[in-house]
Amino acid sequence: MSAPLQAAAPGKVLAAQAGAGAGGMFLAMLRRDLLLVYRRRADAITVLVFFSIVVSLFPLGVGADPALLRPIGAGVVWVAALLASLLSLQRLFGADYADGTLEQILLSPQPLALTALAKVLAHWIATGIPLALMSPLLGMQFGLAADALWILTVSVLLGTPILSLVGAVGAALTLGLRGGNLLVALLILPLNIPVLILGAGAVDAAQSGLGAQAHLSLLAALLVATLMGSPFAVAAALRISLD
C-alpha cells in the first residue's frame, strides 16, 4: 500500500480497494466488519453461549415438567435471542468509536446510511444467523414439535435483522456514554416488543393449529418497514453522537 493511501481516511481506503462508489463502500465495509468478527471469534461465540445459558436457566427456574415447558418454549427462546442480540450491540460501533475509525467513516463522501446498513448487516450475519441456527436445538430441549421448530427458526431468521436494525439506533445514540450498555437495553427493549410478540406468536399459532402465515407475514412487513427507516435514524444518531 502506498504511503499517501495509508494517510487517507480508512473509508476512502476501503472504498478505493473495492472500487469507489457507494456500492463499493457498502461491500468493503461489510467485508471488513465480517473479517473483524472472524478475527475475534470469541466475541461472537460468547453471545451464543449466553443465548444457550439463558434458555437453559428457565427449566431450572420453572421446573422440568414437559407440559409446562412446551407452551413457553418459543417465548423463552425468543426472549433469550432478544437479550443475546442486545448484548452484542456494544460491538457494532464501540471499537470503531474508540479508535476514531467511526469519525473517518463519517467524513467519507459515501452516504452514511448505506455504510451503517453494511455494519448492521454484518452484525446480523455474525449474531442473527447463528442465533437462528441454534434456536431449533434449544427449542428441542423444550419439547417443541418438528414443524414448530421450523417455524421458530424462520421467525428468528426474520426477526433478528429487525433487532439489529433497531438496536443499531440505540447503540448509535448511546455511543461513549456512562453505562451505555444498560441504557441501550432501556431504550431498545420496549421498541422490540412487537418483534417478540410476532416471533413467539408465530410458533404458538402453529402449535395451536392456526397456522403461522399471518405472524410471519407481519414480521416480514415489519422487517421491510424497519429496513427503510432505520439506516437513516442510525446515520442521524451517529452524527449527533460524534458532533
Binding site: V166, L177, L186, L187, P194
Partner: protein
C-alpha cells in the same frame, strides 16, 4: 396592518418571562377546575348501580390516561421540531414535558390497578390497554434516562429527539401487536372497550377533570421549562439582567 412576529416567543429570552406570567394563571385554573371536577365526581355524580362507589376513580384515571398518551405525542412533536429546525426552545419543551407525561402514565396505571382490585378481583391483568400503557411508561423512562446520561445538553436534546421520533412511530405498532397478542392469548373475559352508557353528569365530571389536568400540565411544564432555560442560559446577559432587576 402590523405584522405579527410569530417567532418572537421561540427565543428563550422572550419565552422565559412569558412562561413566568402564564404559569400562575394555569395553576389557579388547575386548582379551580380540579375542585369543581372532584366535587362533581364525589358528591354530584350518582353511585353506579353495577360498580358501586369504586367507579369514582375514573374521574382521575381516564383523564390521566388521556394526558399520558397526548403528552407523548406532544413531546415527540416538540423533539422533532427541535431536531429539524434546530430551535433550542422546542427541545427544552420536550425535556420539560417528559417527567409530567411519565407521572400521568404512572398515575393511570396505579389508579387502574386500584380500580381493578374491587372490579376484577386482581390488581393487574395482561390486558392490551394495560400492557401498552406500561410500555408507554418504559418509553418515557428511556427518554428521560437518555437525556440524563448525556452531559452535553445539545447532544442530549438531539439524541432525545431521534429517540422520541422513533418511539412515536413505534407506538401504534406496539399498540396493535399487543392488542393482537392479547386476543390470541386469552379470552376477552374483561371488556374494556364496551363503554357503558354513562350518565351525562359523570361525563361532565370527567371532562372537567381532564381540563384541570390540562391546566396542571401546562403550568408545571411552563415552570419546568423556566428552570431548564435558567440552567442552560445562566451565563446569558439577559438572564443576569433579569436576576439583578428582581434582586
Amino acid at each position: 396592518m402590523a405584522k405579527i412576529n410569530w417567532f418572537k416567543y421561540a427565543a428563550p429570552a422572550t419565552f422565559y418571562p412569558l412562561a413566568g406570567r402564564l404559569a400562575p394563571w394555569f395553576q389557579a385554573m388547575a386548582v379551580l377546575l380540579g375542585a369543581v371536577g372532584l366535587y362533581i365526581g364525589f358528591f354530584v355524580a350518582p353511585t353506579d348501580f353495577q360498580q358501586g362507589e369504586a367507579y369514582r376513580i375514573i374521574f382521575i384515571h381516564v383523564p390521566a390516561a388521556w394526558m399520558s398518551m397526548f403528552l407523548y405525542l406532544l413531546m415527540a412533536a416538540y423533539a422533532g421540531l427541535g431536531l429539524v429546525f434546530n430551535t433550542r426552545l422546542s427541545s427544552m419543551m420536550a425535556r420539560a414535558i417528559a417527567p409530567t407525561g411519565a407521572m400521568f402514565t404512572f398515575l393511570a396505571l396505579w389508579t387502574g390497578s386500584m380500580w381493578g382490585r374491587p372490579m376484577w378481583g386482581t390488581y393487574w391483568v395482561w390486558d392490551a390497554r394495560l400492557t401498552s400503557e406500561l410500555i408507554l411508561l418504559f418509553l418515557y423512562i428511556g427518554f428521560i434516562a437518555l437525556q440524563a446520561a448525556i452531559d452535553d445538553p445539545r447532544r442530549g436534546d438531539r439524541a432525545g429527539g431521534v429517540l422520541a421520533l422513533v418511539g412515536a412511530i413505534n407506538v401504534p405498532i406496539i399498540y396493535f401487536s399487543v392488542k393482537w397478542w392479547n386476543t390470541l392469548h386469552q379470552g376477552s373475559s374483561i371488556n374494556l372497550t364496551r363503554a357503558p352508557s354513562m350518565a351525562s353528569i359523570m361525563l361532565w365530571g370527567m371532562l372537567v377533570m381532564a381540563l384541570s389536568f390540562w391546566a396542571y400540565s401546562i403550568a408545571v411544564i411552563l415552570s419546568r421549562v423556566q428552570c431548564v432555560i435558567a440552567e442552560r442560559e445562566q451565563r446569558a446577559a439577559w438572564l443576569q439582567a433579569l436576576g439583578a432587576e428582581q434582586g
